[in-house]
Structures are given as C-alpha cells and as structure tokens.
Amino acid sequence: MDPVLRIREYQRDRVNFVLENVDLAMANSLRRVMMADLPTVAIDLVVVEANTTVLPDEFIVHRLGMVPLVSTNCDAAIRYTRDCNCEGESCEFCSMILTLHVKCNESITMDVTSNHLELQPHPEKGIEEAGEEPVRRTENFGLPVGKNDPDVDPILICKIRKGQELKVKCQVKKGIAKEHAKWSPCSAVAFEYDPHNKLRHTSYWYETDEKAEWPLGENAREEEPSREDELFDFNAKPNKFYFDVETDGSLGAQEVVMKVCDTFASSENVADERST
C-alpha cells in the first residue's frame, strides 16, 4: 500500500498535512527527523568584548544562540567544522561572523535586537583548496530571520540605558538539534492519530464525564467516532496521522518536509550498505 498524502494548509513557515497508509513507526520517525536531524546554522561561539548591560555575559550569549538564522540550502552552503579541512580553525567554509555593537547615548531605554547583528567578511580564508560553499549561499544566509523586514518584529536581546554598551563577536556554525536545540528548524511539530481514541492507546483522566471534559479536536472531524455497541478491535492499527509543522523561519516549512526524506534515506543507506 502506497502512502497517501494530503496537505491541508501550507504557509511559508508552517504546513499541515495528513499522512495515510504508513506505519506508526514511520510517521513517528518522520516527526523525530524533522525535529532533531536537519542541519541549520546558529550562533555557537561568542566573544564578549564589552558588556555593561544589566544582564550577565552568559545570559546574553544564550539569547544570541537562540536567534534563528536563515539557513536555506544549508547542506551545500556551509560545512560542519569537524568535516572542514581547516582542522577546527573555523574558516569561511565552515563558519560565518556576526557582530553586534550597540551603545546608548541618550536618556532612553534602548532595545538591542537581532537587527543589530551584522554579517562581517570572514577574516580566515579557507586553507588549501577552495570550496564553493560561500558561492552557494543566498543573499541573507546566516542573517537573523526577518532582518530589516519591516513586517517582522526583531528579536529583543536585551535593553540598555544611557551609558551602557554591548559589543560582541559571534561565530555562526552549522549543527543539528541533537547537539543543541537551537539548531532545530522547527518550533513545534504537532502529531496526532486516532482522535477518537478507538485504539485505546491512552486512557483519559476525568472527574465526572469523560466526553465533556475531553472535547474533540479539529482532526476528529476526519474520522468516524466509534458506535456505542462497537466491540473493541484489539488488532486495529493506527493508519492516519495528522501533522502540523511550524518552523522558526530558519528553514521554510517546505524545505523541512522535503529534506526529511533525504536525511532519512541516507541513514538507512548507511545501515543497508554495511550490513551486506
């Protein structure tokens, strides 16, 4: 039986789809790959040159790490530092430099936001053979999502008052969410099956009335509720899975979903080739 797919809703940063005729294990693996196996870029190393704000260095550095950066076509546009032939030196093929320098000179509370992060030309030219990675980068690759877009509110990093200053130099690296959640392209992946709980994979806690206390979700409209006199089918298997993937903007929802199949198949390939 071939898998059946229906995309119910598709926006730049989210996609809602229904997947049928696949195994629960397959659907769950799909979800796991979307959350933790897709590479993106994020700020990974920060040199704090000046910080006279009220927040400690670590606090700000953590906030910088969480800023989503545009990671379109990450596979081809940047290398993992561990795979690069600069041997951990962080050259232009495996890293990018963002700087932020804000000082407040007026009697106001100033917001330091992701819009203040500026991309700098990389000082370390790659060693030995050149790579094509930098050429493959899109114009805004590595910049905060929505930078200089008037429709997008920038991300607040901290607030400074008169006389305070924040100056940092950040190294942007490629990674996956198994190392740190900041590299996850997804901010949320909703996953549901069997909205009427016909399979009894869960049992609902309730005070007086189960039906009243557990209202059905949107997905319940897609399936028939069980009849009162219906016997429990203990051989039934889940067959229809409802996904809602929401990204943080570093990758488009379409790119996330499409890359899943690649990433996935490559890990199986490894398993396959070596076993024979």
């Binding site: 898998p3 598709y10 989210r14 561990r82 997008v152 008169k162 190392e179 076993s275 024979t276």
Partner: protein, 156 residues
C-alpha cells in the same frame, strides 16, 4: 562534568564500523545487529518494517542505555533468508517508501504553489508579523518618556 560530548551521539568516529552483525550461536537463523550512532528514529522504523515481512519470525530493538549512542536489533528468520539479507531488504523497502513519499510531497507542494504560493491567502508574512507586543511597549524606544530629563546617576 563527565558527560559525553553531544556530537558523539551522531558522528561516526575513525575506526568505528556503523553496522556490526553478530550471528547467534544458540538460535537458528538469528543475528544480533549493532548499529552505531543511530537511535529510535531508525531502530523503531526498521523493526516495524521487518515485522511486516513474512520471512521474519522475530524482530526487536533496544537502546541499552540513553548515554550510549547505539541500538541493538535482533532478527530471527524462518531460514529462507539470512537475517542480514532480510535487513538489507527491509532497508530497501523503506527507502522505496520514502522516495514515493518524497515525490508525493513534491507533487502536493507544486499543487499548492500553483494555487498561489505559500500562504497566498492569509499568511504572506502574516504569521511573522503579529504586532502584539509581548513586552507591552512600542518597538524601539518605548519607556524613554518615563525617565524624563532627570540627572543620570551613572558617572560617565
């Protein structure tokens, strides 16, 4: 302090073999397969695929310890095929399913794009541009007024 590096979860180090097949000496047509640097994502999927195959009598997997980045897959077949071949067959089937899934995604996305592109209706940037200010002040220099022109107590 002595936590392993996070990248050890998924990077195959030099000298490591990603797949190791240990044939079972006590049970006929059975093998234990150790797959390094993979977790439930692959393990559970392989197990489920193996169980759909008629030649497979038993298939199960476990991740012996959450800090050890490998899983163990046990397979017993009915003797018409060896466990490692049946695993390879299962992998091929999964890759096949995924490539049909990929082409279905491609087709569905192209339909949606023909309908007017991502978020043609409501969401061209709409999702990003929620202007509810979570901090309760206008963007930029909100709150400045409250300070007035009082003297600063900071000595510059």
């Amino acid at each position: 302090m002595n936590a392993p590096n996070r990248y050890e979860l998924y990077v195959i180090e030099e000298g490591e073999t990603p797949v190791e097949v240990i044939e079972d000496t006590k049970i006929p047509n059975a093998a234990t397969i150790k797959i390094l640097k993979q977790d439930h994502t692959l393990g559970n999927m392989l197990r489920a695929q193996l169980l759909t195959m008629p030649q497979v009598l038993f298939a199960g997997y476990k991740v012996p310890h959450p800090l050890h980045p490998y899983f163990i897959l046990k397979i017993q077949t009915d003797g018409t095929i060896t466990p490692d071949l049946v695993l390879s067959e299962a992998c091929n089937q999964l890759i096949g399913t995924l490539s049909t899934l990929e082409s279905k995604f491609k087709r569905e996305f192209s339909f949606k794009e023909a309908d007017g592109g991502p978020g043609a209706a409501s969401a061209a940037g709409g999702a990003f541009a929620t202007s509810d200010d979570p901090y309760g002040t206008g963007a930029g220099t909100g709150g400045g007024a409250g300070w007035g022109n009082r003297d600063d107590y900071l000595d510059f």
